[in-house]
Symmetry: C2
Subunit: 292 residues, 2 copies
Amino acid sequence: MKPSVGLIGLGLMGRPIAANLLKKGFSLTVWNRTASRAQDLVSQGARLVATPHEAAAASDVLIMIVSDPPAVEQVLWGEKGAFSGLRRGSVLVDSSTVSPELARRSAAACAERGIEYLDAPVTGGTWGAEKGELVMMVGGAAETLKRVEPIFGAIAKRWFHLGPAGAGQTVKLAMNLLLALEVEALAEALALTTAGGVAGERLVEVMQSSMGRAPVLDVKAPLLLERKYPPSFPLRLMHKDLALALDLAKQLGVSLPAGSAARDVYAKILNSAREDLDYAAIGRYWDKAAGA
Amino acid sequence: MKPSVGLIGLGLMGRPIAANLLKKGFSLTVWNRTASRAQDLVSQGARLVATPHEAAAASDVLIMIVSDPPAVEQVLWGEKGAFSGLRRGSVLVDSSTVSPELARRSAAACAERGIEYLDAPVTGGTWGAEKGELVMMVGGAAETLKRVEPIFGAIAKRWFHLGPAGAGQTVKLAMNLLLALEVEALAEALALTTAGGVAGERLVEVMQSSMGRAPVLDVKAPLLLERKYPPSFPLRLMHKDLALALDLAKQLGVSLPAGSAARDVYAKILNSAREDLDYAAIGRYWDKAAGA
């Protein structure tokens, strides 16, 4: 019999993940801070509950994908939180992006309660989430991963077991550092090209025939060229992930010179934006510099 | 009848370019500062001459691909230089990577002498040069490009006409800024991953399943993982190109925060290296930081 699944967090990633779980026939209980976001999923068969506690109590496997460390702490340890509902022998999968330290703290809290734990942050964006083709970076016990593989198969094309609790988050922060810097690299190259009198479109054409081409750049280049930034992966989340990566680097005594410079660009645009923008909106850094 | 071709500069890029021109049946005259490097090409049918002047005088189309702006100035304006040999109506193609300003100065000097000029720097590395699959970024007159397309077809899979003289160099500097930052991004992500206790190989696996994957990273990742850096594109040349990109940015009033931070990493490793290393050798920045 299929395990009952709970999902906490119905944002840009959580909603398509939930839809794929329903499509694959999992019994699904959902909770979201803003309950109205569950409407579509309820009509597809999800059961909406009023607290993380209820979602946890109804589930063999509880997945959470919320926006940041404070949200994770609130969901797990807060009033009517998941830890008050999770049963001994159940599994908690945290697919949020947080620090490895918080992942290890969550894992320890699970262990005390006889709950199994995985950190399993994802990459692939909303597109990957919709197609059920995410890539998951997993930390925790191999046997626990084995238990949840049928569920992961509904939402991801691949998963990598990277080590004990926290290892998934370490690699996820490194991946987002890489992605943030790749988009920063294209934005800087475009700024130089256009200031030099050549249309940015031409650089993108050359880039797409070059060793530098990357799927993330194919996706973000049109946003940078059109200066329109509807959020696929929001700037505020990428900024948070860069901050987590730089915090981790500092703890570990690792210098990340370009990552640090890029974080300042992300911070500047985030602070000046009133809308919810995609992280490609760092392109605005040069609009402003040019007085546009 | 096929135009006679001259080639000045038989480095890592020039030699395979020359070999492809010979294979396609072009009559080829070559010059190199270190004449011994022409040995193989002579046995394949190239004519080796003793000065840039002679190579220029023998050619309808003279291509040069040398390492930096001083080398270009020496070859063109130096004693027994190309300008003393190039005939009215011939074409000079500069495939070196230099500043757009030097490209415009070369173009003006050509125009005074009734010579046509293109800047046509290349991307694709030694692999692309060997396969005849370079990508060329072209500045200059469209009619001049039309004249040399049969020659470009022997060495490149695509060429982009990007604007007047200098436009090819502008886009080339932006492209190398992009590539240098992509490799810097991977090096920083690897440093964070390994310091966090996960093998770098695992990050590379995840990267290759992600939106961040890029051919340049597939090629450079093994060098970074093995900490061995045989030069494909030498660090000293990438450092020079970053310096040219940052000079251009300064002239144009464009800020490149991550590019600037990356340049400092490239400079540090270049200054401490006694061998000729590939630009992936920036990975040593973290070996040193870790005291390794």
